[in-house]
Subunit: 338 residues, 2 copies
DNA sequence: CATGGCCGTGTAATCGATTACCTGTCCCCG
DNA sequence: CGGGGACAGGTAATCGATTACACGGCCATG
């Protein structure tokens, strides 16, 4: 593969001149033409590895997400990737698979590659690598999930308004025994959603007792199903369940159907995170939709601010309630009317 | 951030010795200890950019896929990423969004970054960049989709057996007016699936006339829905539809429901590509499942063979039919019995 | 006791770019 | 007509690693 020296020789100039032409500096028209011709004839492309070594910038961002197979994170990653690319950056996506160990592994790799900035949607709790990121001066932005003790801007959705709407929705439908399926206590975002929901319910005089708060360390469908089983086995089973993750909601739905029960007749079901598929499940699921693509874009922008040396603030974007049919009453929907 | 020179100074040795210790070459125990101590105290990590410049290897692979938001490709990407990481490689995922132009853009970027090898699940047809990849001697493996005229091993699923099973399944259920929703003619993989299916149907004496072969350049739900509309508007509408992509199947399902028709009562629906959500749609969809994770692993292995200078063969892994309820009869399934 | 080989380690070239600094030309103006 | 400034473009240092080659010390062997 041709390098800058080959181009210089063919154009009869020095490497410095070639570099200047390609980076839009001084040279005069005639020289410039010769260089560009040589570049074209040789099919020359600058070696970004060498360039990065010299300039100490890689024009690459890192994104570590909790679970690539979770459609919420997929869409987030897609949005981040598009925005990064639009701004001239490449993106390396790291998949932590909800394991803090794997997450640290990946952050390590990304730091080694000297990425210009890092976005992390943190898996689980305590990760010493995040501390190292801050110590290494690599610009960092947290995405979707905050991490206590880490001084970095966080971009996420504010669920308050949507959860208030949801509480009102459930109250209006006469559901008075709500339950929640959350990530284990200690996960900042789970705790927050739980608290906001409980507060919203309280304004309608509805309680959320501890036994109707179920959690599982497995954030996939399996975990959701197991928690739903426990909830349904309660002496006073819930008449409405909010799952704080879309995959857990799916598992919960499985358990309901496996028992021959029906949503929403026997129990209402709501998911946090709206994903396209929820419109096609049986029944279509009411969900709290995060502004996923906006979150991705905002994260990239915040990160670029930090990369360029400016401070960046945390960003909170509002989530909203999308009512379908899984609570007993939905919008008139062009679907089969059974 | 500390570099190799800092380590050398602190350990009282030369940079060469440090490099040798870290790469497991000669040095003697005592020197080695001093070096490792210095590495540890300084928190030294080798600069992979500099290393790559020198060694001309980046230990990074590229994967360009057609659409990150399509769950089939997501799972594929996830499998590829895990296997690559297991073998000590990083992965840069590029999202072509079904646009050949964007695909070429991304391939260009990846070549510029001097990735060690490239996997491409090609969007659409004719891409001159793929030719350039071959010309640049960058190891290349095609994934899921072949590209005529490109001499590279291709890893994909063989749909023959599954499509034969499907034809038998439909025949047994008395469906005699099948239709197909495919990508536009010319897309190698679409054509192939179509042909295999037609052949399989023929052995049961079932015809697949041209008017029941619908295609759309839009491979998302929108395209699927539009094609399904045309099919249902036929004077003799089909009683079974195979969509060769999971998102198109989803759009098709939408159209059926929007008309107040029912699956499978009014029309059977089958999707190529099984994704977890199909078990939760209304009704659960019968699908042809590709061995997605195996495909991802095989692609990485084939690519590494080529990177290490050995030839690599194309790989064909069998797909299989997963029967659910969208053709009118499914396995006893723990679901609501309505 | 001299010589040769081996082993551990240092010196310096190298990868391919960017860029500070210097040189040489040309032109303008006093 | 000479001096200075502007500007094009060349020379060489630099980024941080790897690695070919050289060197010196030690041991073994003739």
């Amino acid at each position: 593969m041709a390098n800058i020296k080959d181009v210089a020789e063919r154009a009869g100039v020095s490497v410095a001149t070639v570099s200047r032409v390609l980076n839009g500096r001084s040279p005069v028209a005639e020289t410039r033409e010769r260089v560009l011709a040589a570049v074209h004839e040789l099919g020359y492309r600058p070696n970004v590895v060498a360039r990065s070594l010299r300039t100490a910038r890689t024009r690459t961002l890192g994104l570590v997400i909790s679970d690539l197979r979770n459609p919420f994170f997929t869409e987030l990653a897609d949005a981040v990737e598009q925005e990064a690319r639009r701004l001239g950056y490449s993106l390396i996506i790291g998949n932590a698979g909800e394991s803090p160990q794997q997450q640290d592994d990946y952050i390590r790799t990304l730091l080694d590659r000297r990425i210009d900035g890092l976005m992390v949607s943190s898996a689980g709790t305590g990760s010493e690598m995040l501390g190292e990121v801050v110590a290494s001066d690599t610009p960092l932005v947290l995405l979707d999930r905050t991490v206590p003790g880490i001084a970095a801007p966080c971009v996420r959705a504010a669920g308050g308004a949507a959860l208030t709407d949801l509480a009102a929705h459930l109250a209006a439908l006469g559901r008075h025994r709500p339950a929640v399926i959350v990530a284990p206590a200690g996960t900042p975002i789970g705790d927050e959603r739980l608290e906001l929901f409980a507060t919203a319910l309280a304004t309608h005089g509805i309680a959320l007792p501890a036994e109707r708060i179920g959690s599982s360390p497995d954030l996939g469908p399996g975990g959701g199903r197991r928690v739903m089983r426990e909830l349904l086995d309660l002496p006073e089973p819930p008449d409405a369940v909010l799952a704080t993750d879309n995959l857990m909601a799916l598992g919960a739905l499985d358990e309901v159907r496996a028992r021959g029960l029906r949503v929403p007749d026997d129990v209402a079901l709501v998911a946090f995170d709206d994903v396209p598929w929820f419109a096609h499940t049986d029944p279509p699921l009411t969900a709290i939709a995060q502004p996923t693509r906006d979150l991705g874009r905002a994260a990239v922008h915040a990160l670029l601010e930090r990369i360029e040396g400016r401070p960046a603030d945390s960003v909170l974007l509002p989530a909203r309630l999308v009512v379908r049919r899984s609570c007993g009453e939905g919008p008139t929907h062009p679907g089969p009317s059974h």
